[in-house]
Amino acid sequence: MSVAVDIPIVEQIAEVLYARLQLTTSNYYADNPVVEVVRPTRHGVWTPKHQQIILTQDAAIRERTLDYPGNPPALCWVTRFNIRCHVMPSETETDPYDRELNYLLAGVHKSVTDATNWETFDGLSVHAEWSDQERVVHDGGVSGINQPIDITYRVSELSDYVLRL
């Protein structure tokens, strides 16, 4: 089965992920809403803030074992999306830093997975899984944690706009 649309499949997945992360900007979880979710521009017109999420993606990796034969064949890709959670509390903040990180990450996990068959991203992906978190090693500047998520999807060899399930 193939589905043709006018937005590349990987961009549609990014938009779904971005929309789900937006839930963290409301009082969707706990009492510490995220101030904003940013997909950065090339020139970086944003400024680091406490309780902020930056969404970026790595170059896609081929997953040949999940390709489908055919004419044209379906190619399987895995794209890693980096959900960078910035926690930059005030110097007068008395809450433990790790507690703030734990709440923020809990909100991220809940917002992304709180959907039926969450891992299919509205039917666009084959699979999705959380990867190891990466602590940001900071030297007084931006600090926080990165929660990568690997999303696997399949498209036509001839067009990144054609979803192959």
Partner: protein, 109 residues
């Protein structure tokens, strides 16, 4: 006048609009500062994101600049034109690069 007073006087003169400084905003008040406008650079902490940086020099004073005791890194912002001639924008102070009795050197991203 003590040497400490002289150092603060020198710093205040250096960041004056009549010398190298310009007016920027901190916590709702206007202060004089020297703004070193930097080019794009990778945000090392995030690895794959690019973000301009600015180095700001201000007098270590709660009236003429920002005092080292009132500064709250991570929470405080400065408002200034990111590029000469542009409209002012809010930028977070992410790092206290250095300071002494006369001056603070801040990094904004």
């Amino acid at each position: 006048m003590t040497l400490r007073d002289a150092i603060l006087d020198d710093a205040t003169m250096l960041v004056s609009q009549n010398e190298f400084g310009e007016l920027i905003e901190y916590n709702g008040r206007e202060i004089e500062a020297i703004v070193f406008r930097e080019s794009l650079s990778v945000l090392a902490e995030d690895g794959d994101t690019v973000l301009p940086s600015w180095e700001i020099h201000v007098a270590n004073s709660s009236t003429l600049g920002i005092s080292s005791t009132e500064l709250d890194v991570g929470s405080d912002v400065l408002v200034f034109p990111p590029r000469e001639g542009q409209d002012p924008e809010e930028k977070t102070i992410v790092r206290l690069v250095g300071h002494d009795h006369g001056m603070l050197i801040l990094e904004c991203r």
